[in-house]
C-alpha cells in the first residue's frame, strides 16, 4: 500500500491574523475565511516545508508540541487533515491507496 503524501502552501496565498489564541486565515485562491485552532496552523506550516504522510506529520507535530505520540494523536491529525483537504488548504500529493 502506498502511503498518501500531503502538502500545503501556507501562509503563501493567505492573509493571517492571530486572534484569541486562534489563527484567522483569508485564503486568496478560494476567497474563503477560516478560523484555525491548534494544531491546524502548525500542520500547515510543516506540510509547506515538505510533503509528508500522515504518520510522519504526526511524529513531527508531536515532537514540536511535546506531545505523546500515540494512536489518539494520529487520529486527531487524520481528522484535521480531512478538514484541511476539504477546505482546499491541504492537497493530496502521491498515490491513492485505493
Amino acid at each position: 500500500m502506498t502511503a498518501r503524501l500531503y502538502r500545503a502552501d501556507y501562509p503563501q496565498h493567505c492573509r493571517t491574523h492571530a486572534i484569541d489564541g486562534m489563527t484567522l486565515v483569508f485564503h486568496r485562491p478560494s476567497g474563503t475565511t477560516h478560523f484555525l485552532s491548534a494544531p491546524a496552523p502548525e500542520m500547515l506550516i510543516l506540510l509547506s516545508e515538505a510533503p509528508m504522510s500522515a504518520a510522519v506529520l504526526c511524529q513531527r507535530l508531536c515532537e514540536q508540541l511535546d506531545l505523546p505520540q500515540d494512536d489518539e494523536a494520529l487520529y486527531v491529525v487524520e481528522a484535521r487533515l480531512d478538514e484541511l483537504i476539504a477546505s482546499g488548504l491541504v492537497r493530496v500529493q502521491g498515490l491513492d491507496p485505493h
Binding site: 486568496r28 485562491p29 478560494s30 476567497g31 476539504a86 477546505s87 482546499g88 492537497r91 493530496v92 491513492d96
Partner: protein, 337 residues
C-alpha cells in the same frame, strides 16, 4: 428604452453611450443586470469618460466579476483535485473555460456552475470521484435521476455539501433526445491541454458548443449573453489562418452547420461581428424573430413580448425531445406539483 437594443449597441460600439441621457443610463444598467451582462459591459466601457456615478456602478460590476472569476477558478482547481486521482482530465466548458484560458469572452462574464465534459465511458468514475470529494445529488428522486441518465447529455447536477457550488458533468454537448448528434468523441479527441490535467475544446469546437448553447439548449434565455460569447470568441479566433474553414468542417461534423449559420447572422446583426457570408448564409425573415426575442426586455429590466417568449419555450423543448417524450415529461412534472 423600449428594448435591450441599446445594450447590444453599447457592447458592440461603446462610443454610443456618450450620447446617453440620465434616464438612458439608469435603463442601461438595469437591462445589463437583467441580462447578466453588467460585468461584460463594465469592462467594455472602462476607458470612456463617464458620469462619476456610472463609473462607480461599473467599477462595482467589475469587482463582482473579479469575485466570480476567483470562485470559478477555485471550483476548477477543486474539481481537478477530485478527478485527477482517477486519471480523468476534464474538459472545461463555457465560462470556466474562458476564465481559465484567459479568453476575452471571459472578461467580466458571469460564471455560474462549473461545466465539464468527460468521456462517456469515464462518467461513472467521474461521478464516484466527485461524490468522494463531497458532492451530492441535487435531484435524488427516481424519475429525475432516470430522466437525466437515460436522455440527457449530462449527469444530474451535483452540489458540493460545504461550498454549495454546482457541477454539471457532460458527456456530450446536446441531450441524447435532440435531433442533432454532435460527435462527442471528436470533441474530446481535438481538445487542447491548457494546464496539467485540464483541457478546453479547440477553437472551432468552442464556437460550435457556444452555438448549441445559444440555440438548441434552453429557450433563448440569456441569449444576448450567449451571443456575446460567440462575438468575443469569433473576433479572436478569426485572426488564425484557416479558422473559418475549420469551423465549417467541425460544424458539419457535429451536425450543427445550419444553427452555426443562424448564430453567425445573429451576432453579425446584433454585435456587428465580421463573419464570412459563405458560412453565415442569407438573412431570413425568421432571423428577425430571434432578434426580437433576444432584445425582449424593457427599460425596467422586465421581460416583454410574452407571446413570442412562449413560442420559444415550446420550441426549446421540441428541439430537445420527440413529442411523445415531451408529453410524458410534462405529465410527470405536472404530477409532481
Amino acid at each position: 428604452m423600449k428594448d435591450a437594443r441599446p445594450l447590444a449597441t453599447a457592447l458592440a460600439d461603446p462610443i454610443s453611450v456618450l450620447e446617453f441621457t440620465p434616464d438612458d443610463w439608469t435603463s442601461l444598467l438595469t437591462i445589463a443586470r437583467a441580462e447578466r451582462l453588467d460585468g461584460s459591459l463594465a469592462y467594455r466601457l472602462a476607458d470612456l469618460p463617464l458620469p462619476d456615478v456610472v463609473a462607480r456602478a461599473l467599477e462595482d460590476a467589475r469587482a463582482q466579476a473579479a469575485f466570480d472569476r476567483t470562485q470559478a477558478l477555485w471550483e476548477v482547481e477543486m474539481a481537478h483535485r477530485a478527478l485527477s486521482p482517477a486519471g480523468i482530465e476534464p474538459i472545461l466548458l463555457k465560462g470556466s473555460a474562458f476564465a481559465f484560458a484567459g479568453l476575452p469572452a471571459g472578461l467580466g462574464r458571469l460564471i455560474g456552475d462549473l461545466d465539464i465534459l468527460v468521456p462517456r465511458d469515464r462518467l461513472d468514475d467521474a461521478e464516484a470521484a466527485l461524490i468522494r470529494a463531497g458532492f451530492e445529488w441535487v435531484k435524488d428522486n427516481e424519475y429525475d435521476q432516470g430522466y437525466y441518465r437515460q436522455w440527457m447529455h449530462e449527469l444530474p447536477p451535483l452540489i458540493h455539501r460545504d461550498r454549495e457550488t454546482m457541477i454539471d458533468v457532460h458527456h456530450t454537448i446536446l441531450p441524447l433526445t435532440a435531433r442533432r448528434t454532435p460527435d462527442a468523441a471528436a470533441l474530446i479527441e481535438a481538445s487542447v491541454e491548457i494546464a496539467p490535467g485540464l483541457r478546453v475544446l479547440n477553437a472551432a469546437d468552442m464556437i460550435v458548443h457556444a452555438v448549441t448553447h445559444l440555440l438548441a439548449d434552453g429557450d433563448l434565455a440569456g441569449g444576448l449573453r450567449n451571443l456575446w460569447d460567440i462575438d468575443r470568441l469569433l473576433r479572436l479566433f478569426a485572426s488564425t489562418p484557416g479558422f473559418w474553414d475549420e469551423l465549417d468542417e467541425r460544424a458539419a461534423l457535429h451536425e450543427m452547420r445550419a444553427p452555426l449559420g443562424l448564430a453567425l447572422r445573429l451576432t453579425n446583426r446584433l454585435y456587428a461581428t465580421p463573419v464570412p457570408p459563405r458560412l453565415a448564409g442569407y438573412d431570413r425573415m425568421r432571423d428577425l424573430l430571434f432578434v426580437r426575442r433576444m432584445l425582449a426586455r424593457d427599460g425596467w429590466g422586465r421581460p416583454i413580448r410574452p407571446v413570442n417568449r412562449l413560442g420559444f419555450y415550446i420550441r426549446s423543448h421540441w428541439i430537445r425531445m420527440p413529442p411523445v417524450m415531451l408529453a410524458r415529461h410534462l405529465w410527470t412534472k405536472a404530477k409532481a406539483k
